[in-house]
Symmetry: C2
Subunit: 261 residues, 2 copies
């Protein structure tokens, strides 16, 4: 068994992200929603355990969603809820849950009110199609709502809209014990630090220590690493970070704390 | 059945990406490797069908890798092959394939030659631990190799190193028929375009038409969409893009082709 690098508090909620869209897999679009959701959940103390990206293919959305919702407390999806023919997320979610789908009166009224007479066409009405039994997720940016059903929250793919939906969801989510994190940077090769780092991790199983090497071309000392100490016990994280800094000084490095945000 | 938005050529190779690292799921690091690999594969004509992110937990790496390698022609992993205690990808890959792991003579010699006497410590030697039966993937940036076993390519997580490894792998991969893509932008609400777009897609099942709305605060026409026509038949893609532009002009928009790179 490898050492345990994740130390969730007992009963800490878990989550998964499912990004839906051909544009991510074709390389046309760089997904940023996963990172936004990851930071959002970290603040709430919810453990993001896995993320997946699938294309606009119903069978693949259904398979991924059913696997993820069975294994996690919450699933957050992004993408595929607009008005166009390639927006098939609502249908796929209904299929995954084995429920019907149709116009949601609240969503329909909300959307109808946004358009001038005659412009609420059949494609726009598609955005009011919500799986039976789902509740709406408010969209402060562009009106068209997301929805939630069971433990699944279905959000838009446009990052600005997705962020607004996350804010709308936040009050409904339980809060775990927040993870504290301290990042220490040192311009010293990762392989030189590694033995001491392994010993430090071994003697402090209550925190997770990650090491992320970097290269800075042209720098006097081009090889270095960011070392991240994470845990749910603030004092333990601070204590281990201090020990880490002592170790780095003994190796001749001048460690600095950095803000990863 | 939903319409088929992906039209791979017969026997077009398929691929999946597996990103390994707590730093992605904690939100500390924005993954860019998936996008780099997606663009790399698009040029080769290999269909990227799915991407996953898992943490530094052996059971989760093994489960994801075994699911992905069974369902795709190729799997590309990134992350977890450095010298530190949290780098457990090589062990996880060996476990997934049910093979042993040990020092690879070639990798060992290559790494040993890079360090001054006495600095090739036990942690650095970890980078020479390769699953039995695997071949090496060259690393032009920092020396420590990746490896390939079966249909799985195991690469570093540092983007600069990962890109160098991709270049080293490229000559070994088969080439599918390359996807051509034309992107047309129009400052007109997506919901106004949607009916015509659906009809266009229906009459041209040999291409995939995607619609990606945007909002530009402060612009005279703040609502618009990028419309992407993709396919493996260059003439068909060009023909549908022209029809799309005609449709947009009839709706009063002034479509423009854009370079998505």
């Amino acid at each position: 068994m490898p050492p345990c690098f994740e130390q969730p508090a007992p009963n800490s909620p878990t989550a998964a992200v499912l990004v839906i869209g051909d544009e991510i897999l074709s390389g046309r679009t760089q997904d940023t929603n996963t990172n936004t959701i990851a930071r959002f959940l970290a603040v709430l103390g919810i453990d993001l355990k896995q993320a997946r990206v699938v294309g606009d293919v119903q069978t693949e959305i259904v398979a991924a969603l059913n696997a993820l919702r069975a294994a996690h407390d919450f699933v957050f999806t992004t993408g595929g809820i607009g008005p166009t023919h390639d927006d098939i997320t609502a249908d796929a979610v209904a299929a995954a849950f084995g429920v019907g789908i149709g116009y949601h009166p609240g969503a329909y009224a909300l959307l109808e009110a946004r358009y001038p007479p005659g412009e609420f066409n059949d494609m726009r009405k598609r955005m009011a199609r919500i799986p039976h039994g789902a509740g709406l997720v408010a969209n402060a940016v562009s009106g068209a709502p997301g929805f939630h059903i069971g433990n699944v929250y279905v959000m838009a793919g446009v990052p600005m809209v997705m962020r607004a939906m996350l804010e709308a969801i936040a009050p409904e989510l339980p809060h775990g014990r927040t993870v504290k994190s301290i990042t220490v940077e040192a311009c010293i090769p990762e392989g030189t630090i590694a033995p001491g780092l392994a010993a430090l991790q071994k003697s402090h199983p209550d925190v997770a220590i990650g090491s992320y090497p970097f290269y800075r071309e042209g720098a006097a000392k081009p090889f270095g690493a960011q070392l991240v100490v994470r845990g749910r016990d603030n004092e333990a994280v601070e204590r281990v970070a201090s020990e880490l800094e002592d170790m780095l000084r003994q190796l001749g490095a001048a460690p600095q704390r950095v803000n990863p945000g």
